[in-house]
């Protein structure tokens, strides 16, 4: 199926559902392709190629709502699928807030190029992909004779979708991404600590080098040799940029309109109030060129815009989708995150760590969770003990615990070193006096 056929199918599905009794309909038809390669001992361990298609439908029938998806795009089967979807919706309870977004929320201009599609996707040579994975394994292996296993990996994907709403929205989107990385295991006394590093780009040509990926993957394992837990207590906590996302996502659930309406947000009633230290400014920016979260419209067709979510620690807005926005009487602004960036600090990790007298540099999280209703959280962590500006030894098997309300007030400094390989462009962060549990 080509793009035009996909669009025709979405238009057909909308029309056909309306004919069956739907009042309003949103349809999207999508196609995605991907390749995943894993190499070990310079042999292909696994290679997988995928192509998948699908149709998804949102049906509004006299303010009754249901959603459906199928990957069987045979026209005759689809007719039955749509018919049953509309029929089944009848049995639900009507809800006055169930309707498509107001057309004024749809984007006016879909021309902007976000640089998220590599038009050369299909011409990348399959042997080159395998070579990338093999090179990463070689680079990683060469870093230490303690390495007992190293794998190199490569993956890419291409996805396109067409979205049609019965009240006027039509959007098309194509994106690509290319990822590669390595996973390394080293032999310690009894344990076999592992480390990994992956990096990616929207374009094949700007992928990170195999040298960077292989070395970093190996380093991330090697630096854990000899890790132990240390005494429980309050420590300053420095967090590596790539791991900050885990903490930031503690905000995302409670900031959603659904959580507010369902009374399961500790941030209810906090608009305009200080919810974090003045060091924190969080911006949801959908227009970053090549960004992994970049988009012109969201899953509901609502036009993307730059949103300052937290400014100098003050909560400026929530993530408001169409349905819960209506239910709360709030203007929908798009219910999902796109790219998240920060007002950056002045120093990088190297400079910040030098000023820490006694603290823990957290490099990764291991499990844990947070409670969006109360803000309570507890996460497993590993990293390094820092004394007088130096990493003294690796630590693991520890927890941090607290409540988000207090925790974010303890944020002391942000670095100027945002992490590149994520839609969360987080810099190194420093917190004071965090509760660590260990021995």
């Amino acid at each position: 199926m080509n793009t035009k056929e996909r669009k025709d199918m979405a238009i057909w599905a909308v029309e056909y559902a309306k004919k069956q009794g739907a009042s309003e309909v949103a349809a999207s038809v999508y196609n995605s392709r991907s390749v995943e390669i894993e190499v070990r001992e310079q042999k292909i361990e696994k290679i997988k190629e995928s192509t998948t298609n699908g149709l998804s439908l949102n049906i509004y029938r006299d303010h009754k709502y249901s959603g459906h998806s199928t990957n069987n795009l045979n026209k005759k089967d689809l007719q039955k699928f749509v018919k049953e979807a509309v029929e089944a919706t009848k049995y639900l309870t009507a809800d006055e807030y169930r309707e498509l977004p107001d057309p004024s929320l749809y984007p006016e201009n879909l021309e902007k190029d976000l640089k998220i599609e590599d038009r050369g996707y299909i011409s990348v040579n399959p042997e080159e992909k395998v070579k990338i994975a093999k090179d990463i394994e070689n680079v990683a292996r060469a870093q230490s004779d303690k390495i007992i296993s190293a794998t190199g990996g490569y993956s890419d994907d291409y996805s396109e979708s067409v979205k049609v709403h019965s009240n006027g929205f039509v959007g098309e989107r194509v994106s690509t991404s290319f990822w590669a990385g390595g996973e390394v295991t080293v032999k310690d006394a009894d344990a076999r600590p592992e480390g990994y590093h992956w990096g990616g780009s929207r374009f094949y040509k700007t992928m990170p080098t195999t040298d960077e990926l292989g070395k970093q993957a190996a380093q991330n394992a090697i630096r854990k040799l000899g890790q132990t837990k240390i005494k429980s207590g309050k420590y300053d906590m420095l967090i590596e940029n790539r791991s900050v996302g885990r903490l930031l996502y503690m905000f995302v659930g409670p900031m959603s309109a659904r959580a507010l309406q369902q009374k399961s947000s500790y941030l209810e009633g906090m608009l305009g109030k200080q919810i974090a230290s003045p060091a924190l400014t969080v911006i949801d920016d959908p227009f970053i060129e090549g960004g992994f979260g970049s988009r012109l419209y969201d899953g509901e067709g609502i036009a993307s815009k730059e949103r300052v979510m937290i400014e100098k620690g003050v909560l400026k807005q929530y993530y408001i989708d169409n349905y819960y926005g209506k239910k709360l009487g709030m203007q929908p602004n798009g219910g999902r995150t796109s790219n998240i960036r920060f007002d950056l600090g002045k120093r990088n990790y190297d400079a910040i760590v030098k000023d820490i007298k006694k603290g823990i540099f957290v490099t990764s999280f291991n499990g844990g969770n947070s409670n969006s209703t109360t803000g309570d959280f507890s996460f497993g962590v590993s990293g390094f003990l820092v004394e007088n500006g130096q990493l003294v030894k690796p630590v693991n098997e520890m927890n941090i615990s607290g409540n988000a309300n207090l925790f974010w007030q303890k944020l002391a400094e942000l670095g100027n070193d945002p992490y590149k390989y994520s839609s969360m462009l987080s810099p190194t962060m420093l917190f004071n006096d965090i509760d660590f549990s260990g021995l």
Partner: protein, 514 residues
């Protein structure tokens, strides 16, 4: 249950949804004339017809898969239907359905895997996918076709009525009743959400060794979450039942339990405190605490990790790892339990696998590749999320067998510690052995008694150390009843776990420092 609509009546009254689900049974109309066969009474013939293929076509696909010199090829046809109905703000005002259909083709050359899939079951589309998978090898061979044999399999999840025959308006009253009960039980409840989920998977498998199997895999789940408010403070918690079950499982009694447990677990949090930070004795309540085994040992015993030498358990088979009364199994044969399977996703019969017998490490969990690598029989643990994924060694239902102690004596033995009762998630680093699980609720133990409730703490330990630190095991094994899903390399599969009351002498508990 009083409000249940008689199914026959509905079949007569409801026109379009008569053959099916809430939102559909989406049998390929091209393959069937008249009503399609459903459920566990289906024969091999029905499955072939369901997927619109025959043995000759399958033979051709396998030949194509082996055409470049692969050692082995298998095909995995799957049709999955899922229905999700939700109640919020006292109304059943949302429903979702998902249909997924296709065939995965895998070719092996030694330890190497080539994989591809097709969402169309035309011979051309399937052969093309087979050629892609075939590229893992790079010579040419001519393959002699084999005759297929279909073994008779046990059935660990017979249900009364296939989910496709239960209509949406039969499920709606369950949600409404639970919601009413939740609000009636405690006037502090301000919100309640109830979800009714059913999923059905039809699988047809064949391989180049001539084995052909089929399976009908049902799953039902009801989950309830509620939020309560007291003196301006809010708390939320959750309870659910899930299993390879039909709608008959949801009796008035289970409906009552769903409502009362969800409410009890929520309102008890108002009094909850945090324990002291650091290493403490931890008592794990019988039931879903089996998450300890899943994370501390289960993943580390999946043989793909050991084949690559990257698990902390890689050199532990035959070694003493725990006290004599510790026996840990991973079992695919427990009737109606969420992780049970009649046959694994590589056509191998499932079994009860002993990971640890009387304190000694006994066996890994194997898929085809790892079993061949170690020269042992597969353990029926080769599982995959769907036809879009290649199989790997995975857990099924992981639990510890009963031990010599009593629950009361275990609690009495603790001066200051934690009693962990309900959990939301867990994780493990395979090589380092560090694992965690998140305790949603439980109690402090002070001077041998359960005292104040606790909430939202992460527990972190090291697999082999914690096994060695298991001090007491009671005689009250209980399986988890909730909807656990295990994630590995991006693939989710349904699992369960169980545990008798167990005491671990010390693990690091996330808490507050004085």
């Amino acid at each position: 249950m009083k409000a249940t609509i008689n199914r026959r009546d509905f079949l007569k009254a409801g026109a379009v949804t008569a053959v099916g689900t809430a939102i559909l049974p989406h049998f390929l109309s091209s393959c069937t004339s008249g009503p399609a066969a459903t459920g566990s009474n289906m024969t091999l013939h029905d499955y072939l017809e369901h997927f619109g293929v025959n043995k000759q076509m399958i033979t051709q696909i396998i030949s194509e898969g082996l055409s470049k010199g692969g050692d082995y090829c298998d095909v995995f046809f799957q049709h999955m239907i899922g229905n999700y109905i939700g109640l919020e703000d006292k109304a059943v005002n949302r429903a979702y359905s998902d249909v997924s259909f296709g065939v995965g083709i895998r070719v092996l050359k030694g330890d190497q895997t080539g994989y591809s899939f097709s969402e169309e079951v035309s011979l051309d589309a399937m052969k093309s996918a087979a050629r892609t998978a075939a590229n893992i090898a790079n010579s040419t061979t001519k393959v002699e076709p084999v005759a297929f044999e279909t073994p008779k399999l046990p059935n660990y999840y017979l249900i009364k009525t296939p989910w496709e025959e239960i209509s949406i308006n039969e499920k709606i009253p369950y949600l409404q009743q639970i919601n009413e009960k939740v609000f009636a039980l405690d006037n502090r409840i301000i919100k309640s959400n109830v979800w009714f989920t059913d999923e059905t998977s039809y699988v047809l498998f064949a391989n180049s060794e001539g084995r052909m199997t089929f399976d009908y895999q049902p799953m039902g789940q009801i989950s309830v979450s509620c939020t309560a408010e007291q003196n301006g403070k809010k708390e939320q918690n959750y309870f659910d039942f899930s299993g390879r079950r039909g709608i008959e499982f949801f009796t008035p009694e289970t409906i009552n339990t769903l409502a009362s447990e969800a409410v009890k677990r929520t309102v008890s949090l108002f009094d909850a405190v945090k324990p002291k930070a650091g290493e403490l004795p931890v008592v794990l309540a019988a039931g879903s605490s089996g998450i300890l085994l899943h994370e501390a040992i289960g993943h580390g015993m999946e043989a793909d990790f050991n084949r690559k030498d990257v698990s902390i358990f890689s050199d532990k088979i035959g070694k003493k790892v725990a006290k004599d009364f510790v026996t840990i199994v991973d079992d695919g044969t427990n009737p109606n339990i969420r992780g049970s399977i009649n046959v694994d996703d590589e056509g191998n019969e499932t079994e009860k696998t002993y990971l640890v017998t009387d304190g000694t490490m006994n066996s890994y969990l194997h898929d085809r590749i790892s079993a061949k690598h170690y020269g042992v029989k597969p353990t029926g643990s080769g599982r995959r999320e769907s036809f879009r994924h290649m199989p790997m060694p995975r857990m099924r239902n992981t639990y510890m067998e009963n031990g010599p102690h009593k629950k009361d004596e275990i609690i009495e033995s603790v001066k200051y510690g934690v009693y962990a009762e309900s959990f939301s998630n867990g994780q493990v680093m395979i090589g380092a052995g560090d694992f965690t699980f998140y305790v949603k609720s439980g109690y402090l133990i002070e001077n041998g008694k359960l005292t104040q409730p606790i909430k939202d703490i992460n527990i972190i330990g090291n697999g082999p150390k914690v096994l060695a630190d298991i001090e007491m095991v009671a005689d009250d094994l209980k399986m988890a009843e909730g909807g656990w899903t295990c994630g590995k390399n991006g693939q989710g599969v349904p699992v369960s776990q169980g545990l008798p009351t167990v005491k671990v002498s010390k693990i690091t508990v996330g808490g507050v420092n004085a």
